[in-house]
């Protein structure tokens, strides 16, 4: 055995270690006291921030984390480039940079439909109603000298914002300007356009249109429900604070992935449960709280299982609306029955759904078939409880089958 070990180690020495993403990530994380998740679709910056006293993280550290995830082909890409006019790529001495920040007068602003979408008045109104001067994102504009000599500043991103600003009385508009006049003929020809004023304008439209699609379509990353919740929570949105308090009560926390004990990942469904109404009106999380307690009090480990807490929240809501009172002993009794039959919480909901589809396929289901898993599992729980000899009076199921 000892001989085998020596031979194996020698063989490893002679070979360059191939890149392994997991190993690179683990090695990177070891530089930090507090570990944090690093995946292709997210680096957990909130966990990473714990290495910086829960305060701001240097972007250089985040950058190093990003290139670690992206792999060795990105490790040597960074070089020094100052776009502020000093060390400017393609900048010819004595000329303005091709892009710069400026303030533009209202009467100089134009919209050229070649590279812009239609305007939505209701979107203008939506922004107007939620307007704050500190939240104006700098619109993007291309400066074009037309063949008749007029200079126009055409918006290619942020048109709705500009219209809202005008409603708010703005007369000058901050803008990030691409100055078409600063491009050399060679640059325009390299992009496949000719050496005439018309071709220069077509080139400008090409840049603006391509950038518009890049920013609003191709490279747009919508705000994930998790990020929306966390930003709302950390900036003290009262509803999200209340939801987080409920989670914390049962050792749970919002997470992007169900990667640890107590993870809650289905943000929109959680909000749906929080908002359920009972006989007395909005429950303000009362049913959701009890549903989480139902899972956590019986299944001590694991992430929150959507098709456990959601159907249970609905069960409590239905019971409340129908005037049924479900005693605390009911929760423990039902949880015990479910785990005896299927075991862990995921297997419970999977088992109920499996029995539902078996009944559908064998045409042994009676009543209207639910169109959503939450009501399939909810009906399954009610049927199962009754079939198992449960004594509490539950709301009537909307469909019946042998679970």
């Amino acid at each position: 055995m000892a001989t085998m070990t020596l031979v194996a180690k020698q063989a490893r020495k002679n070979k360059a270690k191939p890149y392994n993403k997991k190993q690179a990530i683990v090695s990177f994380i070891k530089k930090f006291k507090h570990p944090f998740e690093m995946k292709d679709d997210s680096i957990d910056l909130r966990e990473m921030a714990k290495n910086f006293n829960d305060g701001p993280i240097p972007v250089e550290n985040i950058h190093q984390a990003i290139v670690t995830v992206l792999g060795p082909q990105y490790h040597k890409l960074t070089f020094n480039y100052d776009p502020s006019g000093g060390n400017y790529l393609g900048y010819a001495a004595g000329k303005r940079p091709k892009e710069y920040f400026d303030y533009i007068d209202w009467n100089q602003l134009y919209l050229w439909t070649i590279f812009q979408r239609d305007v939505a008045p209701n979107h203008v109104e939506k922004i107007y109603k939620d307007f704050d001067e500190s939240s104006v994102i700098v619109p993007c504009i291309i400066k074009i000298t037309l063949t008749d000599g007029r200079v126009v500043y055409c918006v290619w991103d942020g048109h709705h914002t500009i219209q809202v600003c005008r409603l708010k009385g703005y007369t000058k508009f901050q803008a990030w300007v691409i100055d078409l006049d600063q491009f050399t003929t060679a640059e325009i020809e390299d992009a496949g356009f000719g050496d005439t004023d018309e071709e220069r304008i077509k080139f400008g439209c090409f840049i603006a249109g391509t950038n518009m699609r890049r920013i609003n379509g191709l490279n747009k990353r919508p705000l994930a429900p998790y990020d929306d919740f966390m930003i709302g929570l950390e900036t003290r949105d009262p509803k999200f604070v209340a939801m987080n308090n409920i989670l914390a009560q049962y050792g749970c926390m919002p997470r992007r992935h169900a990667d640890r004990d107590g993870s809650w990942t289905q943000i929109k469904s959680g909000i749906e449960c929080f908002d359920l109404e009972g006989a007395q009106g909005p429950s303000v999380g009362a049913f959701w709280s009890r549903a989480i307690a139902f899972q956590r009090n019986h299944w001590k480990k694991g992430h929150l299982v959507l098709e456990i807490y959601r159907p249970m929240a609905y069960l409590y809501a239905w019971a409340s609306v129908q005037g049924a009172s479900l005693p605390a002993t009911f929760d423990a009794e039902l949880a015990k029955m479910l785990s005896k039959r299927w075991g862990d919480a995921e297997s419970v909901q999977e088992g109920i759904k499996e029995s539902y589809w078996n009944a559908v396929n064998s045409q042994t289901i009676v009543g209207e078939q639910p169109q959503h898993d939450k009501f399939r599992v909810l009906n399954g729980i009610i049927n199962f409880y009754k079939q198992s000899g449960g004594k509490a009076i539950l709301p009537a199921p909307t469909c019946q089958w042998k679970v």
Partner: protein
């Protein structure tokens, strides 16, 4: 093997590193055969040092939970690497797996010590025990 059942196994590194390999299978002889491929039987007999059996779904969910729990100790990804848990002997691992099973209430059975380590030589005895239980 009992119909619809699978097993979750773990074994120590046969070369002596304090690491364990964990995985699931519904075909014990085949999997043990794969692990035997690299060694002469005179050096090492492929075996499972701990083993849990149960319905496929429960075993699959158990594997997910264990991989999640030990994510930081699984240091490499890729075929052949992603099941090695570094710095955890099977004995250490067993205690943690028992806690996971208890916390999640996985509906699985622990294979008794008398069948362990499980090898191709005693796998049929374990099957017989499983059928009776």
């Amino acid at each position: 093997m009992k119909k619809g059942y699978k097993g979750f196994y773990a074994f120590n590194d046969p070369m002596g590193a304090p690491d364990s390999k964990a995985g699931i299978t519904g075909h014990f002889e085949v999997r043990l055969g794969v692990y035997q491929n690299s060694y002469s039987r005179n050096s090492h007999v492929a075996c499972f040092d701990v083993l849990y059996v149960g319905p496929s779904r429960a075993i699959e969910n158990l594997e997910k939970a264990v991989k999640q729990e030990f994510d930081w100790s699984i240091e490499r990804d890729g075929r052949g690497h992603s099941e090695w848990i570094s710095g955890w002997t099977t004995k250490m691992l067993e205690t943690e797996i028992d806690k996971i099973i208890d916390g999640y209430k996985f509906k699985v059975q622990k294979v008794p010590k008398k069948f362990l380590p499980l090898t191709v030589d005693n796998v049929k005895d374990m099957y017989a025990w499983l059928e009776e239980n």
